[in-house]
Structure formats: C-alpha cells, structure tokens
C-alpha cells in the first residue's frame, strides 16, 4: 500500500467551474465519493496530482421527475438513491441494486456517477440502468451530449468520457414504471462484497412475456444486456420450461473470466441461476407461473 501523496485539491461549486478546471489542467482527475479512487491511489495504481471534487456541486445532487424522465444527478450518493421517494415509488430496481452495494459507510460517500465512471464490470448500478434503458447526459466545455447507457462502457475501467468531460445526469424514462424490475446479486458473503455475478431483470408479463429486458454484471468486460435470451423469451408463454430454456441461452451470452472471486465456469452457471431467479421473482405476485 502507498501513502496518499500530496495533491492539489479543487472544490468547484458549479459544473462550469469543474469543466474549466478540467480544461485547464490535463493532469486533473474528477473525484466524488472517492470510494473507488482512494483504494486505487493506495494500491499505487493511480498517482493524483490535481483532484477536482464534484461532490459539493448542488446541480449534481438531486433526484427529480421531469419531462417524462426520472433524472438523477451524477453526484447523488447511494444512500440518497436508497432513500429517494421517487425511485422507490416509480421503479425500484435501481434501489434494490444500491441497497446491498458496499456498506453503509460506502453508500454514504459513494455516488451513482462514480459507480458508472469507474467502469467496473461488476458495478452494481449498471445492470439496472441497462434494463431501464437510461440515457446519460455528459457535459463538456463545448456543450452536452446524450448517450444510451449501453454505449457508455468500453472495457474494464474505460468509458467513452473524454478527459475534460463529466457525467452530469442519468435519465430514466418514466414509462418503465409500468414494468416489474428485480435486481439480484451473488457475492462471496451477504454484504459489503463485489459481485461474482449480478443481474437486473425488467419485465411485463401476463400469460406471456410481453416485454423482458435482462442485464448482467461481472460476467463480461463490461455490463451487458442478454439480448438473445430476451428475444427468445419475448412473446413466449410464461412457463417454467420456457424460462429454463430461455435462461440457458444466458450461458452463451456471458463472457466471464476466472479470477480470485470466481471461476469462469461458476460465473457461467450462476448467470443462468440468477437470471432465472430474478425472472421468477419479478413474476411472483403478477402472474402465477404455470
């Protein structure tokens, strides 16, 4: 472990100020909760020189509904998401994911934007946002751009963000509130642990799957949608057999690695088990499984 080296710390109060600091200093890096970044520094994997702390920018700290979207400021902490009335009422799949993310201390500091920008394949907030088909509002000095969350991740630790851009807002279409969402996670213990596999399922089903969206984390270089599984199940009758057949396809869609947290084989097996469990859980209370 390394000591945290001395660095210049900036605490902008507006987004413009933050962007201009990033424009001005090439070596500057954005920090919010620091729950991913500080361990990286202590592991010697990143040596900071200038840090721009965006967690005090009011414009980045909110959850509100407007224009057909639930909008979340990127520096909103996990704890604030957990306690958000709007998210709990409209679509709680994201809340479910955040509920077991890290520990209370980490949730009090860590932010949703940070969880996405860190681009861990195991980021727990990514699968819910993938199935919610959220859009990300990215701010640069020359203006803003919107991209679907599925296009955000490029690889482990890599996103499409340019050096002088910041993730500003996350937009979740309000209409998803009509669908039932479930997030499930397998870790090496009950809490405060990284996912071996995590999944989010969003569906609308009566006797058949009218719509279904499935996303997984920690089983590919980036969080993924299980599109083939989805299209197999879409329009199919809701039966145990169909669900079993459909989720078998998940095993071909995931591309996990073997590491200290789990082997490729285990992750592959568990991808199916957890997608299946998530579907069944989402169905429960809505339709009886035939």
């Amino acid at each position: 472990m390394k000591l945290i080296p001395p660095f210049t710390y900036y605490k902008p109060e507006t987004i413009e100020e933050a962007i201009s600091l990033l424009d001005e200093f090439k070596e500057a890096k954005v920090i919010a909760g620091g729950t991913d970044l500080i361990p990286l520094i202590r592991d010697g994997k990143y040596t900071p020189q200038k840090m721009v702390d965006i967690s005090f920018i009011d414009e980045l700290n909110f959850v509100r509904e407007e224009g057909g979207y639930i909008k979340i400021g990127a520096a909103t902490t996990h704890s604030d998401i957990l306690n958000s009335k709007i998210l709990n009422e409209k679509t709680n799949v994201l809340v479910q994911a955040v509920k077991n993310l890290g520990s209370p201390q980490i949730r009090n500091l860590g932010t949703i934007g940070g969880n996405l920008c860190n681009a861990s394949p195991a980021a727990d907030t990514a699968p819910p946002l993938l199935v919610l088909e959220a859009e990300l509002l990215i701010q640069g000095s020359k203006g803003e751009r919107r991209i679907p969350v599925k296009d955000f991740f490029l690889g482990p630790g890599k996103t499409i963000l340019k050096r002088n851009e910041i993730l500003r807002e996350i937009h979740i279409p309000s209409e998803v509130g009509k669908m039932k969402g479930v997030f499930l996670k397998l870790g090496r213990r009950e809490a405060h642990t990284l996912s071996i596999v995590c999944t989010a399922v969003l569906l609308k089903a009566d006797t058949e799957f009218e719509d279904i969206r499935i996303a997984l984390g920690a089983v590919a270089p980036i969080p993924i949608r299980a599109k083939e599984t989805e299209s197999y199940l879409r329009g199919k009758e809701v039966t145990e057999k169909k669900i079993d057949e459909g989720t078998e396809i998940v095993k071909k869609e995931v591309k996990p690695i073997t590491d200290v947290r789990g082997t490729k084989e285990y992750r592959t097996e568990m991808s199916k088990v957890f997608v299946k469990r998530a579907i069944n859980k989402a169905l429960k209370g809505e339709v009886e499984c035939k």
């Binding site: 090496r188 213990r189 088990v273």
Partner: protein, 783 residues
C-alpha cells in the same frame, strides 16, 4: 456446578471458599457478569492504541521487502535512498549489533534477510526517515540485486527429494509422533473403518489494528510501546537483536485492536526493528505496518493435509486411529514445533482411543511463514477428526451425538497420549447440555423435511478439546503485582495484555473479590516489563487461568496482612476478622469495624508490607517426545458446537442459521466475557469454515486486502447464538478457572461440514466451504 470430592490443593474452588469464608453464591464479582470498565472508552474511540501515541518527534521506519519467493541476495544498494531528504538511515543485516536471529524455537529466521530470501515480503532493510513520505521514497530507492532460485510452493512437492531446498537441512522443519497400543490389532477389532484425506487453508488473522511499535531511546536504555501478546518475549528478542541487557529494555503492552495469535509472533519482530532503528538513529522510531504488509508478511494459520483412518466396533467404541499430519510452515518454522505438537496430541479428538499411530511433519515452502492463530493447530486436526466421527456414526447407524458420548473422555480415562485425566473433564456434560439446548434429536429428524427445492437444511455437531498453557514438559508460570495505596485503592500490575478479551478485568475481579472491595478501587496499570515480573504470554487461552491465579496469590498475601493488621486494630482474633464491602470488622461485634482506607493508611503507619508479587507455577508435566506419550497439558477445556445450516443447492451457499456453543471453562469468572469470547470465536470459525482463504499465484498473495479476503460481516453470522457454560472446576487455579478464548473456534468448521453433509448427503473435506466449491461438489456428488 459443584464438585463433590474434597480437594486439598492450595488453590481451586474449595480452597477459596475456605480462605474467603464464603459460599460461591456469596461471591460479589466472581461468577457474575459485570459491565466492562473499558467499554465506554472503546465505544467512544478514546482508547489509545499504539499508533494513537505518535508524537511530532517520532520518526518512521519502513521496510524494504523481498520481491522474490526464493533468491540469493547479491547486493543491497542503499546510497540513493540515503540521498533522499529526510532519510536518516537504511539499516540492513550487517547493522544488527546483536544477533540477526528471531527464530522462535528453531534459529532459522533472520530479522533482516542477509544471504537469501525465502518468501515474497520478507524484510531485507529498514529505511528510517523523519516522515512517512521520505521513508516510503527511501524504500523505493533501495536497490536489491537478487539471484533468483527455483521455489517450492506446495508442501507435498517440497517433500520430494528433488525439490528446491528452502533451508539447507531440507524441507522438513520437524516431526512428531505418537505410538500407543497396537493399531493393527485395533483395526482388526473394528467393525467399520473410515479413511479420508482432509485439506485446510491458510487463514489471516484480519485484526483491525495492524502491527505497530514505537521505540524511544531513553538514558542508556530503550523503551518500546507496542501491541503485543507478550511484553517479556518482546524484551527477550529486543535484547537478542540489540545486544542490550534485559534490564535496560522496558516494554509497554498497549491495548491491541485484535491479536488472535498474530501479534504473539509479530510483536517481537516489529519491536526489534523499531528498537534497532531507534538505537541506530538515536531518535524515537515508529514502525506501523499497513494492511497489505500484514496480509503479505505476517504469520498465518498453518494449511494442513491430514490423512485420517479410524475404526470402531459395532457397539460404537473407537478402536484405533492412524493419522498422518502435514502442516505447512512456509518459509520459517516460527511456532511450528508447538503448533504441530499441539495438533498431534489432540489428533484423536476428545475421545478414548486405545490404539494410535500418529505422524506429524512440519514442512517448509517459499510462502509467508505460518504461526500462532487462535486454536493453534487444533482447528485443522479437529476438522478431520470430527468429520471422521460423523462418518463412523453414519456407517454404524448411530446418532452422531450418541456415538460421541460413547467415546468421550471422562475423569479416570486416558487421552491418546495416555495421559490420565484426574479432574475437570466436562466433555460429556458439555455435549449433553449443548445437544439439549439445540434440541438436537428433534431437529435432526425434523430438518429432513427441508429436502425439497433448492434450499435444504441440516444440523451438525462437533466436539473439541484444547489443552491450556504450554504443551508437554515446557515449564509455565505467571506473575502479578498488587500494591495497596495509602487511600485504600489498589494498583494492579500484570503483563498479561489487553487484546479485547478482558483478561485483566478478570484479574481485577479476582483481586477485588479476595479483598472484598468494589471493583472500581482496583486500578489496572498498563503491562510494563519494568514494573512486574514475567506473567508469560497472553496465548494458549492462559491469560485468565494462569495470570488470574497469580493475581489471586498476590491478593491473598495482602488479604492475610490486612487481617493481621485489622486483628491488631480491632483487638479481635484473626479468625474472627472479616473483610467485607471495603471494611474490616470483628465477626463477634460487627460495629467494631474499620474502613478500608483507614486500614491502608495504618498498613504503612504500622510497618506492614503494603505490596505483593503473586506467582503461579503451572503443575509440572512429563512427556516423552520419542513415543508421544505422557502428560501433554495440565488441564483441558472441552467444547461442543452444534450448528443448523441452510444450503442453497444451486449456488452452493452455506448459511449458518443457528449456533449452539458450549464449553467446560472450569469456573466462569465473568460469564459475559466468556460469552463475548465464544461468540467472537464462533464468528471467526465461520469465516474459516466458509469464506476465508489466503490465495497465491506463484508465491505471491493475490488477495492481500479486505476486498478479496472475505471475513464474515454481521450478516454472515447467525442471529441466534446460544452460549452454554459448563463448570467443572480445576483444583490448581483461582476459583477453578480454565481458559476459553480459543475454544469455540475449534469445532466450528467441522460442525458446519457435518451439517452440510446432513443437509445434502455430500461431504466436503476441503476448507473453506465456499459457494463455488460446494456448488461444484454437489454437482459432482449427484453423478
């Protein structure tokens, strides 16, 4: 629990009842749960741990560590590091004024590697600087030129003749043996025989507070403050390394933020480096390891490979065991002679086994050294022994609890080492009471209903025993000091240390009970080698049993003085003088009394001795290392655990739903402290059983952090834990107390494995029972 036979020993429960003139029920502190006097400061973060004592003038020492698992050191180039602003010195092996040797029992481990490194993370040099940043830069600037050697990472590989030699004399650090009866005959008499191989993993202590020591040059000597389990052992090693006489070294034992054996081994190593740095630079120097260093370079629980064969007759009596034990000690032997012997003498579990053949080997590899860890060799061997018991029971069609009860050690029986157990043998009662608390019979049947669906339930049992204090013939003693102040308060000194377990609180309760004064009047001083004699280490669950008995010895001496004095002051016969509630009075006329503070003043005024050392020498034992027979320990603590688990057959998740843990502790000085120890040990045992494992890649630890080294959180331990305390007093100690700190951990892993087998029909003989391992094992089992 009361003992019926008369004991004439100079200690033990009867002695104390007679000496204090009270029945046990009349004790005010002993046997009663109290609010811990240190609770508030711990909860509020006011307790000063070692690193909290840093002051501006303290310099920092940081350690240059080996990057190779096995290599010759060609050269250590320090010039560049010395150029860094703030760097005061770079200390290498050649700068050690005394002996560059910190091997515990076998002199195989240098303080700073000189010719060769044997594991990744081994200390090579110490950079001392005015601040931590300069020290860190200095460490990066020290260039070590290596000549890499082939390395060996597996103990079975290490035993092959062609294996690279970790040490010149070969890769077997030591061997142990038991030869009792005739095993061939024993197996012939058996109706069932079970033979299996068990594997256990390396466990990290994972204490919150990393190792830390601050050394201050003082006059012509040195003072070292550190988190340690044995201030006197630290003093011995600091003396050896620095060449200072022991009288010039003062060691203060700061409270430790967890120790679990790790700080027993690491204390002397870290303190010696800090002392060396302080002597060379003539400045106070702190060495505080970071968490990664603790993971990479501190001792771990020995991984084990155990081949275990056991036989029993159809009426459920054990006839023989044949056991081969391999304990991987890593790069250095450290405590292995003691760990392996402990495992060997406990290898049959707490049962009568007439015929035994046991062979133990401690094997070197190029990995971080193994050493002391709560249970000290017993968790591994019981993991094997207790699963064997369940398999035998299953083959015989006998209930596992019943099968154990037919074989348990009782008073008058002999251990696998042929030791005659004369007293304080509570295995039978402990197991019965724990089974009763768990509603064993009913649950064992009922849980068979939970066999449908992906989640199934099972219940499992395991017993254990654990010798207290040192093993075999190794002498053991403890000491304490009780000083009566002129205002009637007591200053209590012992070098038993504060690891969170509360031993010293137990000592203070004993002192206060004997003097019959309020506990608040006894002030517990910091352990200090210059202020009281060697109480010996706080390990082997001995802190209360031996240290508390020494405290009692000192307090009794003071009590006798005070009775004599009161007799004189009250003009009352000594036999009629009573000490009660901070007063002395004459039993014939209770109004004829004197306050304790007055008594204290008069002690000085009338020339009575106001301060006493207490000493306790553990009963002598005899042991023959050639046969493994003899008296291995003076007394044993007996333990039984029952756990109910739920196994998710799809994911392999094992969840402990309920746990019942009981121990025969001799006498509970404080049931609350015991419960704390039992619950903590159980949680640590659950981690050992289910999720904890130090993982390596080519000799390099790949999970040296809490992200990937998985200790249980509050959500991973059962909500329902019932602690059962059994008291079969021991006649040699204060009030009959034995030890308990390690107890509950030992049978936790086998109880869980047995419960998993009950739930699924599949047996896992390889720790830990991770989700992935159990998942694939269940798939395999179905085939």
């Amino acid at each position: 629990m009361t003992e019926t036979r008369e004991v004439t020993a100079e200690r033990g429960p009867f002695f104390f009842k007679r000496e204090l003139g009270k029945e046990e029920g009349e004790y005010k502190l002993v046997g009663r749960e109290i609010e811990r006097p240190d609770a508030f400061s711990k909860i509020m973060g006011l307790t000063k741990f070692t690193a909290d004592r840093l002051t501006e003038d303290v310099c920092f020492g940081k350690i240059v560590r080996s990057k190779y698992p096995h290599a010759l050191i060609k050269r250590v180039i320090v010039d560049e590091a010395l150029q860094i602003k703030g760097v005061l010195a770079v200390i290498t092996a050649k700068d050690v004024p005394g002996e560059n040797q910190i091997g515990y029992a076998i002199p195989d481990q240098p303080l700073l590697a000189d010719k060769k490194v044997r594991y990744i993370g081994e200390p090579i040099a110490i950079v001392v600087a005015e601040n931590e940043y300069a020290a860190e830069k200095g460490v990066e600037a020290v260039k070590v030129e290596y000549d890499p050697l082939p390395a060996v990472f597996d103990p079975l590989e290490a035993l092959k003749p062609e294996a690279p030699k970790v040490h010149e004399k070969g890769n077997v650090a030591l061997t142990t043996i038991i030869r009792k009866g005739d095993v061939e005959k024993g197996f012939k008499e058996a109706d069932v025989v079970v033979e299996n191989i068990y594997y256990t993993q390396r466990q990290e202590h994972a204490y919150l507070e990393p190792e830390a020591a601050i050394a201050y040059p003082e006059g012509d000597g040195i003072r070292v403050v550190l988190c340690t389990q044995s201030p006197f052992l630290v003093r011995e090693f600091v003396s050896r390394v620095t060449g200072y006489s022991q009288s010039k070294i003062k060691v203060i034992g700061a409270p430790a933020g967890g120790a679990f054996g790790g700080k027993d081994d690491m204390g002397p190593m870290v303190a010696s480096k800090a002392a060396l740095a302080a002597i060379i630079t003539k400045k106070p120097v702190a060495i505080i390891l970071d968490k990664e260093e603790t993971f990479v370079a501190s001792n771990k629980r020995h991984p084990a490979i155990i081949r275990y064969k056991s036989g029993a007759t159809k009426d459920g009596k054990l006839t023989a065991v044949e056991i081969e034990i391999i304990y991987e000690t890593g790069a250095y032997a450290n405590r292995s002679p003691f760990v392996l012997w402990r495992a060997t003498v406990h290898s049959a579990g707490p049962y009568v086994v007439p015929n035994a053949k046991v062979d133990g080997k401690s094997v070197y590899t190029n990995k971080v050294f193994s050493g002391s860890f709560r249970g000290f060799g017993d968790p591994q061997i019981h993991f094997a022994a207790e699963q064997q018991m369940d398999e035998l029971a299953e083959k015989l069609g006998i209930d596992p609890v019943e099968f154990r009860l037919r074989n348990v050690l009782k008073e008058g029986t002999r251990t696998v080492c042929n030791q005659l157990l004369e007293e304080s043998v509570g295995m039978e009662e402990t197991l019965k009471k724990v089974a009763e608390a768990a509603n064993w019979k009913k649950k064992r049947e009922e849980l068979k209903k939970y066999r449908k669906g992906s989640k199934v339930r099972g219940i499992g049992v395991a017993c254990a025993y654990h010798g207290i204090s040192t093993s075999r013939g190794v002498p053991d003693w403890s000491a304490a000091a009780v000083l009566l102040n002129e205002d009637g308060t007591i200053t209590y000194r012992s070098t038993i240390t504060r690891l969170g377990q509360g031993s010293l609180i137990g000592h203070a309760k004993i002192v206060a009970e004997i003097l019959d004064i309020p506990l608040e009047w006894v002030h517990i001083e910091e352990p200090d080698t210059s202020a009281s004699p060697n109480a010996r280490p706080t390990h082997g669950s001995r802190g209360l049993m031996t240290g508390g008995t020494a405290a009692a010895d000192a307090a009794l001496k003071l009590r006798r003085t005070l009775i004599k004095l009161a007799s004189e002051l009250l003009n009352c016969d000594e036999k009629n003088v009573k000490l009660e509630n901070g007063k002395a009075f004459c039993a014939l006329d209770p109004s004829n009394k004197i306050e304790f503070s007055e008594l204290a003043k008069e002690t000085y005024q009338r020339g009575y001795q106001p301060a006493y050392y207490g000493f306790y020498f553990v009963p002598r034992r005899y042991f023959d290392p050639e046969t493994g027979l003899g008296v291995a320990y003076c007394v044993y603590t007996y333990i039984a655990n029952i756990v109910e688990v739920e196994v998710d057959k799809e994911t392999g998740e094992v969840k402990v739903l309920e746990a019942y843990t009981g121990a025969d502790v001799g006498k509970a000085i404080d049931p609350g402290l015991i419960e704390g120890q039992m619950q903590g040990a159980l949680a640590q045992g659950i981690g050992y059983a289910i999720s904890e494992e130090v993982a390596f890649n080519d000799g390099k630890i790949i999970n040296p952090n809490y992200t990937d080294y998985i200790i249980p959180t509050v959500k991973d331990v059962p909500r329902k834990v019932k602690v059962v305390i059994i008291e079969k007093p021991y006649s040699s100690t204060a009030f009959g107390a034995k030890g308990v700190a390690e107890a509950a951990l030992i049978p936790t892993a086998p109880a869980i494995a047995n419960a998993v087998a009950h739930a699924t029909g599949v047996r896992v003989r390889n720790l830990p029972l991770t989700k992935e391992k159990v998942c694939f094992k269940l798939k395999e089992g179905k085939k």
